[in-house]
């Protein structure tokens, strides 16, 4: 290992933590998108099974959203477990993201 190597490693670490600060931390709304198009939006507290044709099944249960079934070869998305604001579940082959978005505190606006 040379001095330049240490510099490269330090730079990579710095960039990783830099981006980490910009990642949202909490939320209550499940948003499912396929290839950038929103296909579902609902509260995390509403139990639901969303079937995405030719891709898989997403289950929302007890405040947890996760990939129940997927027809991709690697099943990485199922292994990703529960989606959170900081860690969305991403299924690359099918272009699906299960993300949790920030609280929309406003239920009603009263003038």
């Amino acid at each position: 290992m040379k001095k330049g190597d240490i510099l490269i490693i330090a730079l990579v670490l710095l960039l990783s933590f830099g981006i980490f600060l910009f990642i949202p931390k909490g939320g209550d709304t499940v948003v499912i998108t396929q290839n950038g198009k929103e296909i579902y939006r609902g509260k995390l507290t509403e139990d639901n099974d969303i079937i995405v044709p030719d891709a898989g099944v997403i289950r929302i249960k007890n405040g947890k959203a996760f990939m129940l079934e997927a027809d991709c070869p690697d099943k990485t998305c199922i292994n990703m477990g529960v989606a959170t604001a900081a860690k969305p579940v991403v299924c690359m082959p099918n272009g699906i993201i299960i993300s949790v978005e920030g609280k929309t505190d406003i239920d009603a606006v009263v003038y």
Partner: protein, 167 residues
């Protein structure tokens, strides 16, 4: 290009594809994080150390197009090709520093692995959506150990393959 060189580059390419194929049977490094060790990058790195930037470019393009066709989804090509090209560009840019002995292949490989992952995630952001960026920190931190491992593999191979088998 001489026949000798052609066959040597083809050999590197074939070895990279085998590494890629074997790697698809190894479970992900961290549960639920789409990261692989990038063993096939060993051969791009050897091509850089032993041949020229241009030769390494050929090996990279071929392995990134054929790899996803062998094991995995064809849509993987856009991810692997973008990743491979950025990784090649970064490692190639570090070559003068390596020749001056300012960086070792391990450092080049860490930079290459980081570039590969960053490029791949950027394609993910464009194709799938912005939340993919959430994987950036964990994926780029993991590119440090995987990059070092790959770098050392290439370094050992470079030491043991007789010099007469170079360009």
């Amino acid at each position: 290009m001489s026949t000798q060189k052609l066959s040597r580059l083809a050999l590197l390419c074939a070895l990279a594809l085998i590494a890629h194929y074997i790697e698809s049977f190894i479970p992900p490094l961290a549960a639920g994080v789409p990261v692989k060790a990038g063993l096939s990058n060993i051969f791009t790195l050897i091509a850089l150390l032993r041949f020229t930037k241009r030769d390494a470019f050929l090996v990279t393009i071929l392995r990134c197009v054929i790899g996803p066709l062998l094991g995995g989804a064809p849509t993987g090509i856009m991810y692997s090709l973008t990743g491979g090209l950025f990784s090649w560009a970064v490692m190639g840019a570090l070559m003068p520093l390596w020749q001056k002995e300012k960086v070792s292949p391990a450092g080049m490989s860490v930079a290459g692995s980081f570039a590969f992952n960053a490029a791949q995630l950027s394609v993910g952001v464009l194709v799938i959506g912005a939340p993919v960026i959430a994987y950036f920190p964990i994926v780029s931190v993991l590119s440090i150990p995987t990059g070092i491992f790959v770098g050392f593999c290439a370094m050992f191979a470079d030491k043991r393959i007789p010099k007469k088998n170079s360009a």
